[in-house]
C-alpha cells in the first residue's frame, strides 16, 4: 500500500470512528435508530423465519424425548395446583378466569431486547397478523410479565412490569388488599398504594385485579419480597416477580379475541 493510500485509509478510518462515536452517543431514542432497527428486523425476518421454525422443531423434539417420569411428576404437580386453584375459586378467594371460546395463548419469541431499555420493553416475533392487539397481556412461566404496547404486522413490543410506565392493578391473594404494581426501570418491581396500617407478609402472592378488558383478573404476578420505607402516605413493598425476566427468551401472549380497545 502506497503512502497516499495509507493516508486515505487513515482519514477514512478517522471519519468512520467519529461517525460510530456520534451514533453511539447521539442515536439513542431517535426515530433514526428506531427506524433502522425496524427495517433490519423486517428484512431479516425472511431468512430468520425458517431458523426459528427449526428451533421450534428442535425444542419440540427435545420435549418428546423427555423422560416419562419427569412428565408424570409435572402432571401430578399441575393436578394438585389445579385442585388448589379450583378450591380457591369455589371459596370466592380468586375470581374465575373468563373462558371465552376464542381465548388462546400464543407462543412468541423475543426478537430484540435493547440494553438501553433492558427493563422497559422487548420486541417479539408476533404481530397483528397473528391476532395480537394493543393491551394483550404477556406471560412467562404462567406469570404476567407485561402488556403489548405497540403492534405491527409481524412484530410487537411488550412493555415489561419492570418499566416505570406500566401500572398494573393487583390484588394480594391472601388479604384481598388492592394495590398497583410498577417497575423502576432497573429491574425492581414495587407494590404501591397500600395503606400504612396494612401489613403484608413476605411470600404473599399477587395476581391481577381487573386491569382492562384484555387483561383478565386472576393472572399470577409475583410475591411480596420485603417491606420498603413508607413515605408517610402509603407503605410500598418490593415485589419478586414470578417469571424470570433475566432469562426471557420465549413468552405467551394471551389473546382475548375481542375487538374492544384496552
Amino acid at each position: 500500500m502506497s503512502e497516499t493510500e495509507s493516508r486515505k485509509v487513515r482519514i477514512q478510518g478517522v471519519i468512520a470512528v467519529i461517525l460510530a462515536l456520534l451514533l453511539l452517543g447521539g442515536s439513542a431514542g431517535t426515530p433514526f435508530k428506531a427506524g433502522l432497527e425496524r427495517i433490519v428486523l423486517a428484512v431479516l425476518d425472511y431468512p430468520e423465519r425458517p431458523i426459528r421454525l427449526l428451533l421450534d422443531v428442535i425444542i419440540g423434539a427435545g420435549g418428546w424425548v423427555e423422560e416419562r417420569a419427569t412428565l408424570l411428576e409435572a402432571m401430578a404437580t399441575l393436578r394438585e395446583e389445579n385442585l388448589h386453584l379450583r378450591r380457591r375459586v369455589e371459596e370466592g378467594k380468586i375470581p374465575p378466569l373468563p373462558t371465552e371460546k376464542d381465548e388462546k395463548a400464543l407462543m412468541a419469541r423475543v426478537l430484540f431486547r435493547s440494553p438501553r431499555a433492558w427493563w422497559k420493553e422487548i420486541r417479539i416475533d408476533r404481530g397483528s397478523r397473528d391476532g395480537i392487539r394493543l393491551g394483550d397481556p404477556a406471560l412467562s412461566d404462567g406469570f404476567l410479565i407485561g402488556r403489548v404496547t405497540q403492534v405491527e404486522h409481524g412484530f410487537s413490543t411488550v412493555e415489561l412490569l419492570t418499566s416505570s410506565g406500566l401500572l398494573v392493578p393487583v390484588v394480594v391473594d391472601q388479604t384481598r388488599d388492592l394495590g398497583v404494581v410498577t417497575g423502576d426501570e432497573v429491574g425492581q418491581v414495587h407494590l404501591l398504594y397500600l395503606p400504612l396500617d396494612r401489613r403484608l407478609e413476605k411470600g404473599m402472592s399477587l395476581s391481577t385485579a381487573l386491569v382492562s378488558e384484555r387483561v383478565p383478573p386472576g393472572l399470577p404476578v409475583g410475591f411480596i419480597a420485603d417491606e420498603e420505607p413508607d413515605d408517610g402516605a402509603f407503605r410500598p413493598y418490593r415485589v419478586r416477580l414470578g417469571a424470570d425476566l433475566t432469562r426471557l427468551y420465549r413468552l405467551q401472549i394471551w389473546l382475548s379475541g375481542e375487538d374492544d380497545q384496552p
Partner: protein, 149 residues
Amino acid sequence: MIPALAWLIQDLLQVLATETLLVPDLFLLSLVAVAGRGQATPQSLLWGAFVGGLLWDARWTGLLGFSALLYVAALWFLLEFWNRIPHGGRSAPLLSLFALGLHLFAGLGHFLSWGDLEPVQRLFLNQQILGLPLALFAGWWGCRGETDE
C-alpha cells in the same frame, strides 16, 4: 460479498443459538481473511466493517455504533500493520494471530458492554473457544494467495 455472507450466517446461527451461546464473530474473521488476501480495497473493507457493525447493532445489541466502532477499530489496526509487513513476511500463522487477537478484542468489547458480567462469562469463553479454529482458518485462507505466489 464474503463478509456479507458471513454476517448473514452469523446472524442465523445466533438466532439458532440465542439461548445457549454467543456465536463467534464470523463477520470480523471474514473481514480479516479478505484483508489478508487483498481482494478488496482497504477503504471498502473499513466501510464494510462500519456498515456490518451498524446492522449488527440494529439487530442485536441496540447500541447503535458500538459494534461499528469495534469492527472499524479492529480492521484499521489490522490494515495499518498488515500492509507494513513485506509480502515475504506475511504468513498464515501471523494472520491467524491477528484474527485471534481481533476476535478477542471485539468479543471483549461486547462482553464488557453487558454490564453484569458474571452470567455471561461462560458465554464469552465459549465464543472465544469456538472462534479459535475459525480464526486459524481465516488466517490460512487469508494467506493462501501469499503462499501460492
